[in-house]
Symmetry: C2
Subunit: 200 residues, 2 copies
């Protein structure tokens, strides 16, 4: 990468980072080229020439959020033995991340899902695809745990992933919105019960 390409990559990262802060505070629909230009000290056309349309910028935020999320939650869990140890570590890291208010980007997938609920369009489709990708990774991990005999052979992987997802979204609701300090402990208890119910 030559110096010019490097500088342009840096600017791109700065723009996407600023847009992500905006989205974390006010939602994906709050992203506009002008608002982001103001934050990074560029002109609106300067932002456009580096990123493209508002929609391209919104999608770039979803992608960058996905990268950060996987780096925090999924990649470290992959260091553990396959199956249940990985699944437990994913749950532990994800729950902690959800409760860390300083990770202001920590809710862009779920907050975005509720924000874009009944709307149509490329941004919605892009977010659905990103969340589907993450759920497929969860399903593979559950499937490994079944194959390794750590969960009962008749375990419905889709069902368990749906339950796991509900626990985390419920935690996001209770810990971040209701600000209930016991929410994370309850979630851990529920997860332990849930796994046990697929082992008995």
């Amino acid at each position: 990468m030559d110096a010019k390409t490097q500088k342009s990559e840096l600017t791109r990262a700065t723009i996407v980072g600023a847009a992500m802060e905006l989205a974390a505070a006010q939602g994906l629909e709050a992203i506009s080229l002008q608002a982001v230009a103001d934050r990074v000290g560029l002109s609106k056309s300067g932002v456009f020439s580096r990123i493209g349309s508002r929609e391209a910028l919104q999608k770039a935020v979803v992608d960058e959020y996905g990268h950060r999320f996987l780096a925090d939650v999924f990649v470290p869990a992959m260091q553990l033995p396959r199956g249940l140890p990985r699944l437990n570590e994913i749950m532990r890291r994800w729950s902690l991340r959800v409760c860390q208010v300083e990770v202001r980007s920590g809710c862009i997938f779920t907050a975005g899902a509720f924000e874009l609920h009944d709307r149509e369009g490329e941004l919605r489709d892009h977010l659905v695809q990103a969340i589907s990708g993450w759920r497929a990774a969860l399903r593979r991990t559950v499937q490994q745990a079944i194959t390794l005999g750590q969960l009962r052979a008749d375990t419905d992987a889709e069902q368990l992933v749906g339950e796991l997802y509900g626990l985390v979204i419920g935690l996001l609701h209770d810990a971040r919105f209701m600000r209930d300090p016991r929410a994370i402990e309850r979630t851990q208890t529920s997860w332990t019960r849930l796994v046990a119910s697929y082992q008995a």
Copy 2:
């Protein structure tokens, strides 16, 4: 109620209804006196004289949503025998409501929770209070089921309510955002498993 009071009540209901539609489509923060005035064909000051500030209108939407929700979900369930029959009926009605896309106000509590996540202020406090009231009603119903011996005596009511809430929010996510037609069936399966685990 004389004719004048009646007319003013009607106008108030129209204003709150229009604000609720706005909130269902774009979020509670999308409510403004001007936007609602445009929808109902009044002047901005006409809306203000009937409702008060933007914040009072937002709170009125939360209250009206709460009334409709209770009338749809809680009140009919109270016709059934105490405890588990009521709890099952609440879960059934609530799940159906969550999946009905025509009930566009069906997500104001939860969408609002994700929208107002990290913010401060009276609207947030008002919504937290409304959700807390609903959870207290759920807790009482669980407590009755324990007292009546329908659930094990060592059942943690708070824990079970948290799990029930997570199932419904997960359903809202999967059915409304991911548009997964099997989500409601999965939720019903999870609920049946969950209740059984508190009975064994």
